[in-house]
Symmetry: C2
DNA sequence: CGACACCGTGGTAACGTTCCCACAGATCGG
DNA sequence: CCGATCTGTGGGAACGTTACCACGGTGTCG
């Protein structure tokens, strides 16, 4: 693709080839009006002949728009965040914009490094799921940005896109209640994460609405990982008696770990323990039993985040705070104790 | 972070602030030698005072190095490819290089679009898992690049990084044979994919070594997805008699789909059907039974691909063809028929 | 018929950096 | 003691593009 004298063709090469000035070439390529049919024709021919591809660096330099967007997420390897990234990628591609993806590992130092990188790259804007204790820096970030995830709450004056946690929790608590589990145990994430507080608050609010004392709900906490969920569930099983237990996990990995712990304790899910997850990662479909879970619209969050970011860059409209609804995915990890013949008795327990 | 008169500080702002020329600032920041202690000091102070961050666009424009690398994979949402991307990301970050990630969905058109985008962005190099029928374009790609995945074979003259399929297949066939499954069925991917041919050839080679006629191995083919694996396994079960069946799936998603199909057919894995996967995605640990599989070193492939790409860019050394070894992960999806009391009889079949 | 708008085009100055050359002063070897 | 080399610095061109201004030609209106 380097046609002219071994180097890549520039706009000047195209102009020479077409016998016009580079201004005219720029106008044709920029989709500007007021160009003679003939000039447009010759320019277009010259472009293909020379194999010209605009130099985005030069464009960015001159126009102030680099054609680059960045997204900073905890980990591309996490299925939920991969979905978000993919949504952003697809949406950006539609605008001929490329996406830089960074993984922060919930590490403030890494995040700072990535933020520096993307500023140097002169990205036109950034989508960020910020690490908990890194607030101050964002306000003087000096770049259009959109927040994703639970952290949005802490920044009332910025655009954000996330899932509607309150609605999701309501959905989850209701499906548990409908199966006879009015007081599920909670498998929470670590204290330091913003998502934990958001989840817990929604549970409390919902309990108050339903005249349940939130304080009586058993709780365990762990990392948002399979190992964490496994440990938390093991602790919970030791702590609790032999009655049927229902747990609402703060994410699917924890839920999957919990199911493994149940099995290893010689118990059965859903016969002895009902488990409800949160995220909707594909792996939940392969577990046994299939994980009943609340699915967050990961991809949609990515798409809408880019939408908001483009608005932000263009200076259009207000800072929007968008909360997308979640969806219940019923599989087999919740026992229906409300039925005439409760599962637990049918199982001969 | 925009300190000087509302705009972002440039090297000239720093120079003025420090009372030196921009050349001196550039030398200090470029780590050049021959700078007085005093000048360096004042420049460094001026940098923090102005909040200066080099404009990577301008750097790229002038120096010809954009500080950007790109990776084109089928889908970031696929756990294996996410691992590869993550490895590349981490390795690139160590060199202060940012990574553009593109998902091609195995679609030649999308791939072409992405290739165009990354060329416009003037990335310094690219890591590509090319779509099957898109060969010609790569030879005149005009940019340093490294191939990843099975396609490497078709390009003897380019650097590539992949897993050692022959070794992986040997590992898999041997572990199956050791459990008494000498002639496993093969669950292959679609004909159009290069990976399929590579896998199949390794199986053939291994069979020849072990005096097995490859033609007697039952085969089914499908997309590299859970649904595909489910359908393929269903067809296979219809086709085969009631003896214990062992299958070697070409990837983990197919294997997971196969396990689901076995369960739905009222059979048991591993009691009636043994399943071996290939990839090592995390979801394999959550399925029931846990999926025994051959783990590809996804992250390592990403890391080494960037290594090779940096060599390629620097013009160092030969074009390397790297094949990384795979690892067996034993979980519970293979029955041991070689034991004194075969599982199948113990299960009362 | 003259003033004026508009169309299509070309020329040129930036954008922020690096690279190369020039130059003044210090150091050094013969 | 003088030419040569080295050290530390400054000046300016160039990278490829876009934005702006200027210009000749044509049509329109009073």
């Amino acid at each position: 693709m380097n046609n002219v004298a071994g180097r890549r063709a520039t706009i000047i090469d195209v102009a020479k080839h077409a016998g016009v000035s580079k201004s005219t070439v720029a106008r044709v390529l920029g989709g500007s009006t007021n160009i003679s049919e003939e000039a447009r024709d010759r320019v277009l021919k010259a472009v293909t002949a020379t194999g010209y591809e605009p130099n985005q660096l030069a464009v960015g330099m001159r126009s102030g728009r680099s054609g680059l967007l960045a997204i900073v997420i905890p980990d591309v390897t996490n299925p939920f965040w991969a979905e978000v990234a993919r949504g952003a990628q697809d949406r950006a591609a539609r605008e001929d914009i490329s996406l830089l993806i960074f993984s922060s590992d919930w590490d403030a130092d890494k995040e700072a490094t990535h933020l520096r990188s993307l500023r140097r790259a002169r990205v036109d804007g950034a989508i960020i799921n910020p690490v908990a204790d890194n607030f101050g820096d964002l306000s003087r970030f000096g770049l259009p940005f959109v927040l994703i995830g639970s952290s949005a709450e802490r920044f009332p004056d910025t655009s954000s896109v996330g899932s509607d946690i309150a609605q999701a929790v309501r959905l989850g608590m209701d499906v548990l209640a409908a199966s006879g589990h009015r007081q599920p145990a909670l498998l929470l994430g670590p204290r330091s994460r913003l998502a934990r507080a958001r989840f817990l608050r929604s549970v409390h609010e919902h309990c108050v609405e339903r005249d349940i004392d939130p304080a009586i709900l058993p709780m365990e906490e762990s990392e948002y990982t399979v190992e964490g969920g496994h440990q938390a569930m093991t602790r919970l099983l030791e702590r609790k008696g032999r009655e049927h237990l229902a747990v609402f996990a703060a994410n699917d990995l924890i839920a999957l770990g919990a199911i493994m712990a149940v099995r290893e304790a010689g118990l059965s899910c859903p016969n002895d323990v009902s488990v409800l997850g949160f995220d909707g990662i594909p792996a939940g479909a392969f577990s046994w039993p299939g994980l009943t879970t609340i699915e967050k619209p990961g991809r949609q969050i990515g798409v809408r985040a880019v939408d908001s970011l483009l608005d932000e860059i263009a200076g259009r409209g207000e800072h929007g705070r968008i909360f997308l609804p979640c969806r219940l995915v019923q599989r087999g990890s919740i026992a229906d104790l409300s039925a005439q013949a409760p599962v637990r008795m049918a199982a001969g327990g």
